[in-house]
């Protein structure tokens, strides 16, 4: 009996080990789970990065982040507001259905629906019109210089599949609307969905009928959310997973020293900042004498001056972050070094500003942060909460999972909240302008629940949206960014570093947009 048990468990172990050690499986551990499988229901780049393996856009970015044809072969501006795309033929969805212009039309219709959370990604597009099976026109509201940028983030879905599964209306992670597409997927991408267990494991298998020639050698990707940094690192060190994203900064030294693993660090585009609620008359955090202190620019400056970013960078970010004064990173078009200036850390000056604004004893506010989205997000917020307490601001800190945090922010239920913006997929200053600075109305201001509103900024937004002369367009954007900086519409903190770590047998490229593109990776 005992011998049989031993043999049996031995065989079981061997089987598990073999499956775990399959050379073509990539086990990817991320800090959090993806929000949904529906590409139009969310705007979180982490989820987009994952979905890009299942779905594809008309145009994608290559290894240098330059544009490259994907589902569209060529495009042409035939009228100022009409761009014609010639589609790739012979592409099939994972369920075998052929890819045609009808799918593009259905996708655009679905994405531009007012209830689509991600509709801001295709702002300015009125509709799509099929010309023939493999030709489709995108009709714009106005000439759009960033159309191709935007399209790199627009995933094409299968019209027949949407209809058959009653999912022609989009989901929305903020309002909580779910459809069949939220937990099922049918795309054209290099990998197919095999199984999805939320908060446990999502598995993709290679698509043998993919239209492109694979550089990768993966047969299978296992996506595992592991929230705890220490656990994720342990899993990497023990060989349970092959790649971890992100890798905790504080463990970089250790990972460098360890056998079989290598940390990867590069500057990223993502700026971490605080949004400030100026829409409400009173803050959620307290009546403050019936006023909203955040409405006063002196208060905002005081808050910014009270943050010792040097300390945070050295202590919390291990010196790997880039302190920011502007809400966009240097590589992003629209960035100006003159704008990128943080007011000096000066506690006394901060207190004086508060007193001047009418809050000599400080005020009370809430601070909402994530604890599983940005690098050391909770630590940063805790440190800043303490710094603000030092100037008399009574902070009630809530640090929670991003699936609760972002909807809360969107509903306007926060006072000061943490947000990170990488300008992706557009990778252009127009992205934060139109999403974060423009007044929330229509296609714009989708990520501006704060009530920040400046008429000149709104004006610039409209102009830049259709300005085809790139230099003029950039100048407009720079102006808007400067206004936002002067008014301290947001309090930028830093650009966080990209920090991954992988086992040595994995050939992996770390892209500045922090996107995972496993179709470039190999496991040896």
């Amino acid at each position: 009996m005992k011998l049989t048990n031993t043999i049996f468990s031995g065989a079981l172990c061997a089987a598990l080990l073999t499956s775990a050690a399959s050379a073509e499986t990539l086990r990817w551990a991320n800090v959090g789970d993806i929000l949904t499988l529906d590409p139009y229901a969310h705007t979180e780049s982490g989820t987009s990065s994952f979905l890009h393996h299942i779905y594809e856009p008309l145009v994608r970015r290559d290894a240098e982040l330059k544009f490259e044809p994907a589902l569209a072969l060529t495009w042409e501006v035939i009228e100022p507001t009409r761009v014609r795309f010639t589609l790739r033929e012979g592409v099939t969805f994972h369920d075998g259905a052929p890819f045609t212009s009808a799918d593009v039309v259905a996708s655009v219709t679905r994405l531009t629906h007012p209830d689509a959370r991600a509709r801001g990604n295709l702002a300015g597009v009125a509709r799509a019109e099929a010309v023939d099976d493999y030709t489709v026109d995108l009709v714009l509201n106005a000439p759009d210089p960033l159309l191709i940028n935007k399209l790199t983030g627009v995933f094409i879905m299968d019209e027949e599949w949407l209809v058959a599964n009653d999912a022609t209306l989009p989901g929305n992670t903020t309002t909580g609307v779910v459809t069949y597409a939220s937990d099922h997927a049918n795309g054209t991408g290099p990998f197919m969905l095999e199984s999805r267990q939320p908060d446990a494991r999502t598995v993709l298998t290679a698509n043998p009928d993919w239209w492109d020639t694979p550089i990768h050698n993966l047969t299978r990707i296992e996506f595992l959310p592991i929230n705890s940094d220490a656990t994720r690192v342990s899993a990497l060190l023990s060989g349970e997973v092959d790649v971890i994203t992100p890798s905790p900064l504080q463990d970089t030294e250790r990972l460098e020293a360890a056998e079989g693993v290598t940390p990867l660090q590069n500057p990223s585009l993502r700026t971490i900042m605080f949004g400030l609620n100026v829409a409400r008359d009173e803050l959620h955090g307290g009546p403050n004498g019936g006023t909203n202190p955040l409405r006063d620019v002196r208060v905002r400056e005081a808050l910014w001056r009270a943050i010792d970013m040097e300390a945070i960078n050295s202590r919390v970010m291990r010196g790997k972050a880039r302190i920011a004064g502007s809400i966009i990173a240097p590589p992003v078009p629209g960035y100006e070094a003159e704008t990128d200036v943080k007011p000096d850390y000066d506690v006394e000056a901060a207190k004086a500003l508060l007193a001047e604004a009418g809050y000599p004893d400080g005020f009370a506010t809430n601070l909402d942060c994530t604890n599983d989205r940005y690098i050391n997000d909770e630590e940063i917020c805790l440190a800043i909460a303490s710094m603000w307490a030092g100037i008399g601001v009574d902070v009630e800190l809530t640090a929670q999972t991003r699936s609760n945090h972002f909807p809360k922010v969107d509903r306007g239920e926060t006072d000061i909240y943490m947000i990170g913006w990488a300008t992706l997929p557009a990778m252009d200053g127009f992205s934060p302008l139109s999403q974060m600075l423009a007044t929330r109305e229509g296609d714009y201001g989708g990520n501006n629940p704060n009530g920040y509103s400046n008429p000149r900024v709104d004006e610039i937004t409209v102009m830049a949206a259709s300005e085809v002369d790139n230099d003029k367009r950039i100048a407009l954007i720079e102006e808007a960014i400067q206004i936002a900086r002067d008014e301290i519409a947001y309090i930028p903190l830093h650009q966080q570093p990209l920090s991954w770590a992988a086992r040595d047998n994995v050939e992996i490229i770390q892209f500045p947009d922090n996107y995972f593109r496993a179709w470039h990776y190999r496991v040896n």
């Binding site: 342990s234 010792d308 202590r315 303490s386 929670q400």
Partner: protein, 304 residues
């Protein structure tokens, strides 16, 4: 068949206590920890809950005896610059408040329900015990998560830190009352069958008075023992919940929160942030458990 008095009545509880090194040491340690936690505001060198009193530049300092240590922070600082020693004292305070309150609440509810079930029997007994069975079949953590979740939904978002402690106490107490109820019920049924209860009835006592005056004092011994053991369990439960992030807020770390933070940074060499709180937790729970162990044995002969 007895014509002779039973042998000299068991040496008083105090006598037994003084004769047992296990009891004295465990009680001393537990008492020391509990008192230092209780007087934390007085004896802690810093207040780790007061945002603005700690400095990020003081973060990750090792204990005073190690190289780089600072005499201001005897056991070092955590990643935010909070003094680990103070954090342990305040954190233990939170843990103990939750522990004691949860135990008191669950013991109170459980004893009351156990008395009723054992004394009345019939349908009341059946209903209560089935209810207890249902509760028992849920894992503690699950119930605690449930209560936390409901509280977050029901109560306004502001000042979550204020009610977090009550939610914790309630969550843990909901789980624990069943133990007391079952034990007390069994004991009550035994006691209720004894003749002195009949004598009390004949003497005209109402049921309530019989329960309170006769039965309750006789079923308290096991309750006390269970309570002592459960204190340790309650503290551990709170630590687990805080570790999972659904307990105390990050600005008022309990021992569990400290262990979680320390755990995140364990590999980068900052060992003191997890080792000292964990050691304290172990010592606290161990000493309380040992004392409860001894108490159970000491009270046992008297149950007969």
């Amino acid at each position: 068949m007895s014509g002779v008095a039973s042998p000299s009545a068991p040496a008083g509880l105090m006598g037994q206590f003084l004769a047992s090194p296990k009891a004295m040491i465990s009680a001393a340690v537990a008492l020391l920890l509990i008192l230092s936690a209780g007087f934390a505001p007085l004896i802690a060198p810093h207040d780790p809950f007061a945002l603005g009193t700690f400095n990020l530049m003081d973060s990750e300092l090792p204990p005073v005896w190690a190289e780089g240590g600072d005499p201001r922070f005897l056991l070092g600082t955590d990643t935010q610059g909070r003094d680990v020693l103070s954090a342990i004292l305040y954190g233990m305070r939170v843990s103990l408040i939750v522990g004691f309150a949860a135990v008191a609440l669950s013991a109170g509810i459980g004893t009351l329900l156990g008395l009723l079930a054992g004394f009345r029997g019939g349908w009341l007994d059946a209903v209560l015990m089935r209810f207890a069975d249902v509760i028992l079949s849920f894992p503690t953590i699950l119930i605690a998560l449930l209560v936390s979740g409901i509280a977050r939904g029901v109560l306004p978002d502001a000042r979550q830190g204020d009610y977090a402690i009550y939610v914790l106490i309630l969550a843990i107490a909901i789980n624990e009352w069943t133990q007391y109820a079952r034990t007390v019920r069994g004991q009550t049924m035994v006691e209720a069958s004894l003749d002195y209860v009949k004598a009390a009835r004949i003497s005209g006592l109402a049921n309530g008075r019989i329960l309170g005056r006769h039965i309750l004092p006789n079923v308290l011994s096991p309750v006390i023992v269970i309570a002592t053991i459960n204190l340790g369990l309650a503290v551990l439960a709170e630590a687990t919940l805080s570790f999972l992030g659904v307990g105390m807020p990050v600005t008022q770390p309990s021992l569990g929160t400290l262990i979680r933070i320390g755990n995140e940074n364990l590999f980068s060499g900052v060992w003191w942030v997890v080792v000292f709180p964990a050691a304290t937790l172990v010592m606290l729970v161990l000493s309380v458990n040992l004392f409860g162990d001894w108490l159970r044995d000491a009270l046992n002969p008297r149950l007969g």
